[in-house]
Symmetry: C2
Subunit: 340 residues, 2 copies
């Protein structure tokens, strides 16, 4: 375990190679990752985590680049996690990363990494959460979680952030309406990027209208040992002290609007630090994280200890000798030591 | 259980209200859903399942509408599952559905349902798989799985399909390139929709080029009791008998290209029925399904039997008295009856 101790120290020093190694161990679900996470827990700094999501083609990457530069000008240390679930590459750099890596390669204050979690069942937000712990421990000031896809997993990932930025652009088609409905719930700040294009004002108005009709989650209820967001309530007016997502127009490739964006982030960060809603947000996030860790630990344990039995049952299912529902039930009973 | 017997019969008759009820039970993870699925297993018909995914704004819904009409003209019974993970509504009809419902409302040969699985951990493909069993049992000829989002969960869902159609459109921006990489792997047929627009030929050429460089998964390896797609191999040339995804130009709102699309589906269906690749595809799907069912059964069991202990540990984590990793480990040991 001397090896692990060195890794823990390297991570805490913010050593880039140690960080890359820690991320790789997490990606590969190496048992040492679990030990590492246990050891750094409680010795963490607290980076401000910004989630960035939005419709493909809205210019997220360029906007993120602008944010990196601005934060670097303020001498803050920045990490970027590109959540690219559609990438078939595991843990490596995708095309966009490589381009950005070149720009920031010599800058010791920037750490960029892709998370590609194809095949990690229920896992995107779990492994991203683990990597976030590593980045907190390494003392980064700002972490940007950027998603490439727009789907359930991606929205879940943004729940790991303190502040979620949703990037839209004018004229991106009709069925984006449908996506907006889901995105509205997670957005703390909106950017209408490519704001020099025709239709930008219409997009802003459109968002304003959707916001005025938006549904507001009302707290958290405990259900069977895990927390779940309870029924949604229609909130026609913003309640006192409620956060109303600002809509910022940006033209990322000309670096316009980036300062206004960072101002909005600061206001939201202040809001989180000082309100009951902020406290609930942090609690919800930690409850969801605990649940994800528990589920993964269960799966790992069954895979390790019941590998042979799982294989047998699988074979029976594949050969049509058993139905998957009854087989799964039987395996769970065995695993829980409940064999009548 | 008289109630359940009636439901099973209703489903097998293809009764619309019984189908809606079965879907609702699955959505709500009602224990009766599990019983229902056990009972219909082995008494199923075999619908041809078409997955439809692609970039937002490409016109998927209009294309799906064209497919419904064409199949109905052939007097086939069609079910559509709209996988809309971003929708905050559970199990209900989303906007797009309501519009389509109106068109097909009086048609007993069309069943349309949204699956919104926010909060079902690791669950989109699981609950979709369950609903598919119900639709098979109800004797539909064709099932269309349409995704709204584009992310990991959505790509996983298309793996439940026999044939996956990926819909693109000209001029949808740059970072769609990144999404394409993931989509290429799952596509069996491409539609370049809005083919009357400028840039359609460029999109087709672009796809052809990517296909010529595409990576081909080489089979399945067994790992710790579950199957995982093994390392990807670069496939510069199509091997003999290998399926090369055709690219079909469509203009969905004018119903152009729909017949050509259905022809391509028929050829792919034939390919699956007669080749080793088709057999492997079915096996992979059933293995993945079994694993998803097993994981969900594990989670349900822990939630039911260890609810109080999970709550206690969660509280300790939330109050900062324990780290989530050590707490999860301890719970798993307890659940597996391994208390030293």
């Amino acid at each position: 375990m001397a090896d692990l101790a060195a890794l823990v120290q390297g991570v805490q020093r913010g050593d880039m190679r140690a960080l890359a190694r820690a991320c790789r161990l997490i990606d590969e679900r190496d048992p040492r990752a679990f030990e590492l996470l246990k050891q750094i827990f409680g010795h963490e700094g607290s980076a401000y985590v910004i989630g960035v999501t939005g419709t493909p083609g809205a210019g997220k990457s360029t906007l993120v680049d602008g944010l990196i530069r601005l934060y670097r000008d303020q001498e803050q240390r920045v990490a970027v996690l590109a959540i690219d679930p559609t990438s078939p590459y595991s843990g490596g750099a995708i095309l966009g990363d490589r381009i950005r890596m070149q720009q920031h390669f010599t800058d010791e204050g920037v750490f960029i990494r892709s998370i590609a979690t194809r095949g990690h069942l229920g896992g995107l937000s779990r492994s991203t959460g683990d990597v976030l712990h590593v980045l907190h421990a390494a003392g980064f000031d700002v972490v940007i979680l950027e998603t490439v896809g727009v789907g359930q997993d991606e929205l879940d990932v943004t729940r790991l952030a303190d502040t979620t930025l949703v990037v839209m652009a004018p004229g991106l088609g009709d069925d984006i309406q449908a996506i907006k409905a889901g995105i509205l719930e997670v957005a703390d700040v909106f950017a209408v990027n490519k704001a020099d294009r025709a239709g930008a004002d219409a997009t802003v108005q459109d968002l304003q209208q959707m916001l005025s009709l938006r549904r507001v989650p009302i707290g958290v209820s405990k259900m069977q040992g895990h927390t779940a967001v309870s029924a949604l309530k229609r909130g026609p007016e913003a309640a006192a002290g409620e956060w109303v997502p600002p809509i910022i127009k940006t033209v990322a490739h000309r670096r316009e609007g980036i300062e206004a964006l960072v101002d909005a982030f600061e206001r939201h960060r202040e809001h989180l630090a000082t309100t009951e809603a902020g406290r609930q947000h942090r609690e919800r996030r930690r409850a969801a994280e605990f649940r994800a860790i528990l589920v993964q630990a269960l799966i790992d344990e069954v895979d390790t200890r019941f590998a042979a039995r799982v294989s047998e049952k699988l074979e029976a299912v594949l050969e049509g000798r058993a139905d998957p529902y009854t087989s799964a039930e039987a395996l769970v009973r065995e695993a829980m030591g409940d064999d009548e």
